[in-house]
């Protein structure tokens, strides 16, 4: 552990909804949003309404709110976000209106619903008697007090076939309508997993289809922990660095290699760390500096105090700026020259079979090498190179996939369709071959 790289933790608040943080909002439509909570601001959730930021501040993260009058958000207890629970588990006390409408349904259940759907044809627009204009009007009417409940009841009344539907499809119908009209939302802490969820729904390709489970496995296999010092390539918008910062809590160091002039760490703008904290924790270097450190070190002519005092204000400012840049660049180049990193974490689209062997020496003995790709084929080609490399043992390709279920007792089953992708990992361990043994080459390599 390199003590010099352990920084003070700022004590970023992950538990209480705090001013100016970016947060993660879940809507009943299973829509998601990232918003910044500027004090005195107003946040619009589109058709679900607006709320004043001040009315949610200082609540714990994880809280669910409903929008009441004057753009005020009020904390409620609701399971409206579940895929649904059987009503026998609902408690009588403290019941919210979201629950009431599901209670309403449960009486329907016994009396009117059929056990099967033999008389129901596919639901087309003709079956629903309310027009969307009427629904809009109802929505306006009920905006202040009823928050959608009234609409849903009206919809049920006007749906001629409602009683002919099976219990299950009745529930689905009400659920669908709830999701459309209830003005409730949940504010969650913008954890790495939530940020990943956001990118997954917004632009899965830009994070190279990285799944939460692959991300978690990558971080664990690389043995990421507070206080570690890691070499990282992150072509996933900085999401991997964001995750490591969450896990390490600013204790330790990341050296990030990038392929363009500047690193793309767009994710970090959502973190609640200051630019200074980030700069202290994440050092960036490009591949040219990485491979040609001596050429790329900046030879900055140091001026004497006297010389500096003779400069104009503008030129003096320039001088200090250039000096600081040179120091930063030279420091990270020296850092990389020192090597002995506690792990290599790569999520890169570069051709790894050629690249990886050029980096292995930078990693400390017994430390992990973990490469992510959404192509198993690329990792296989890379692994074939590692199999002939005496500096890496026990390398293998891993795949992990999470399969979510419709989590309703009595109706448990895996979701019918899920998004593909998620990617693969190549994991190996850096070793230091013995001198004599090394000479004999591959023959001596057990794996």
């Amino acid at each position: 552990m390199n003590e010099e790289f352990v920084l003070e933790t700022k004590g970023k608040n992950r538990l209480i909804i705090s001013p100016n943080q970016y947060c993660f909002i879940k809507l009943p439509s299973s829509g998601i949003k990232i918003v910044q909570l500027r004090p005195d601001g107003v946040i619009s959730l589109g058709k679900f309404g607006c709320f004043e930021v001040n009315s949610v501040l200082n609540h714990p993260y994880g809280e669910t709110f409903e929008i009441i009058e004057n753009k005020q958000a009020r904390a409620i207890y609701t399971d409206a976000f579940e895929a649904g629970n059987d009503d026998e588990d609902l408690e009588e006390e403290n019941i919210s209106e979201a629950e009431i409408s599901s209670k309403l349904l449960s009486t329907d259940k016994e009396n009117k619903s059929r056990l099967d759907n033999r008389d129901v044809n596919d639901i087309g627009s003709g079956v629903q008697k309310l027009t969307s204009v009427e629904i809009e009007l109802l929505k306006k009417d009920s905006e202040l007090s009823n928050k959608g409940k009234g609409i849903i009841e009206k919809l049920i009344e006007s749906h001629t076939n409602f009683n002919k539907k099976t219990v299950h499809s009745q529930e689905k119908y009400v659920k669908r309508k709830q999701q459309k009209f209830l003005k409730v939302f949940t504010i969650e802490y913008l954890s790495a997993s939530n940020l990943l969820r956001f990118y997954t729904s917004k632009d899965f390709g830009k994070i190279h289809e990285l799944s939460e489970e692959s991300l978690g496995l990558m971080i664990s296999l690389a043995d990421v922990r507070p206080g570690g010092r890691y070499l990282v390539v992150d072509e996933c918008l900085g999401l991997i660095v964001y995750t490591m910062m969450e896990r390490m809590n600013l204790q330790g160091e990341i050296v990030l290699i990038h392929e363009n002039e500047h690193a793309n760490l767009i994710s970090l703008k959502y973190s609640d760390y200051s630019e200074e904290e980030i700069k202290k924790f994440v050092k960036t270097i490009n591949w040219l500096q990485f491979f040609e450190p001596d050429n790329e070190k900046i030879k900055f002519p140091i001026k004497s105090e006297t010389e500096i005092s003779l400069l104009t204000a503008q030129k003096r400012s320039n001088y200090y700026r250039h000096k600081r840049n040179a120091e930063i660049t030279n420091s990270v180049i020296d850092n990389v020259k020192r090597g002995q990193f506690d792990g290599l974490i790569m999520a890169s689209t570069l051709y790894l079979p050629k690249l990886l062997p050029k980096i292995v020496d930078k990693i400390g003995g017994s430390r992990a090498i973990v490469c992510y790709s959404n192509n198993k084929e690329l990792l296989n080609e890379t692994n074939h190179v590692l199999l002939n490399d005496v500096r890496v043992i026990n390398s293998k390709i891993l795949e992990t996939r999470v399969r979510p279920y419709q989590s309703i007792p009595g109706k448990l089953h895996p979701l019918m369709t899920i998004r593909s992708g998620g990617g693969y990992l190549l994991w190996g361990l850096r070793v230091i071959p013995g001198d004599k043994i090394k000479a004999t080459g591959r023959g001596n390599k057990k794996s």
């Binding site: 629970n85 400390g364 074939h384 361990l429 057990k446």
Partner: protein, 381 residues
């Protein structure tokens, strides 16, 4: 001590995982007078002290070698004998990620089991002047509890990161008093009305046969100010049903059950068998069959002519070693795919395609993971 920090050099007393062969790690505690004996040879610990972690060392005979690795929760899990209580890395890493564990997390783990997951939890938490993380681990099985206690102690995790308790949490709940607590921390904790130390738990992992019996006890120990997150780990689907009902009636929300399915592959090479070679081989067989009939006739004729010369034609003993193989090879004729020969994967005399191959046995199922969250009630008004 290297479960707690990265080390560059091996010292006496260290826990080292000796890598013997693929996925075969042997844990050893370095003692100056000890020996590691494997089927690859004998390795005196004295030669390991002072070596860099990751070093390859030779056996005394020089014939075998091992690599000396620093333990990590993942390698430790791989080194465990396959007991049923192990939570494997694809599950544990997902749970840690999804529950958003960091250096300040206050974690409940029940039961401790093999302790493999405890190590992963302990890696992430820090308990010092600036960090307030802790793992509260519970085990009701006496022998397993003892074993875990000894293990955590020798891994220097006991009481600084893991508070281990021998208890049936389903009956007696989770409250622990008198655990070492850092009073300097911002959100330091005072006793509650009953004089109990507040544990302020934010993360719960239940690997119990009947989690529904333990869930009602959680309210007393989880954080009263913030959100708590839970994961229940159950092999059977009926347990999941009861767990979901219990979570729901105890007002946990955002309930979702998932399965983790994972696979691993080794890289291999597959021989490229060109159709032209197949056709040429069939032609060669046909040709040799015709020639064979011809040869047989000639041979028979020759044998009749000079049977006395045969001895002289036999090779001497030196050449004899090679000869049968040569003859076999020749007898086999055109043999583009090394049929009947021992061809090593990747032999340069043949063409190969890079492929992957799965491990022969797949972990088809570990357990179902049921996740949920709870925000304190007094905050929800």
């Amino acid at each position: 001590m290297s479960f707690n920090e990265y080390k560059e050099y091996i010292e006496e007393g260290d826990l080292v995982l000796a890598w013997l062969s693929r996925d075969n790690f042997k844990p050893i505690y370095i003692g100056a007078n000890d020996n590691l004996n494997t089927r690859y040879g004998s390795f005196p610990h004295s030669l390991m002290i002072g070596q860099r972690y990751g070093s390859q060392i030779s056996s005394k005979s020089g014939k075998g070698f091992v690599y000396l690795l620093a333990p990590t929760p993942e390698l430790w899990t791989l080194s465990l004998p396959h007991r049923t209580q192990i939570v494997y890395t694809p599950d544990s890493s997902y749970i840690i990620q999804r529950l958003n564990i960091s250096s300040n997390s206050r974690i409940i783990e029940a039961g401790t089991g093999s302790g493999s997951f405890s190590h992963a939890f302990a890696r992430s938490v820090v308990n010092d002047e600036r960090n307030n993380g802790l793992v509260f681990s519970y085990e009701f099985h006496q022998t397993r509890y003892e074993k875990a206690r000894i293990e955590f102690e020798s891994h220097k995790l006991l009481n600084n990161k893991i508070i281990l308790t021998h208890r049936d949490v389903c009956k007696n709940g989770f409250q622990v008093n008198n655990f070492p607590e850092n009073k300097n921390i911002n959100n330091a904790i005072n006793g509650d009305r009953n004089g109990n130390t507040q544990m302020n738990v934010t993360v719960i992992f239940l690997d119990l046969p009947s989690p529904w019996d333990a869930i009602p006890h959680l309210d007393k120990v989880i954080t009263q100010e913030h959100e708590a997150r839970i994961c229940c780990f159950s092999p059977c689907i009926e347990q999941v049903e009861r767990t979901i009902r219990a979570l729901s009636s105890n007002r946990w929300v955002q309930i979702e059950m998932v399965e983790v399915q994972s696979k691993s592959w080794k890289s291999h090479k597959m021989m490229i068998k060109d159709i032209d070679d197949v056709v040429n081989r069939l032609k060669d067989i046909k040709r040799r069959k015709i020639n064979g009939i011809q040869e047989l006739k000639e041979k028979n004729a020759r044998r009749k002519r000079n049977s006395s010369d045969l001895e002289e034609l036999q090779p001497n003993s030196e050449e004899g070693k090679e000869a049968p193989k040569q003859e076999n090879k020749k007898a086999r004729g055109f043999n583009p795919f090394g049929r009947g020969l021992r061809v090593l994967e990747g032999d340069e005399n043949y063409n190969w395609l890079n492929i992957t191959r799965m491990e022969p046995e797949i972990k088809s199922h570990t357990s179902y993971l049921t996740f949920a969250c709870k925000v304190p009630e007094n905050k929800s008004k």
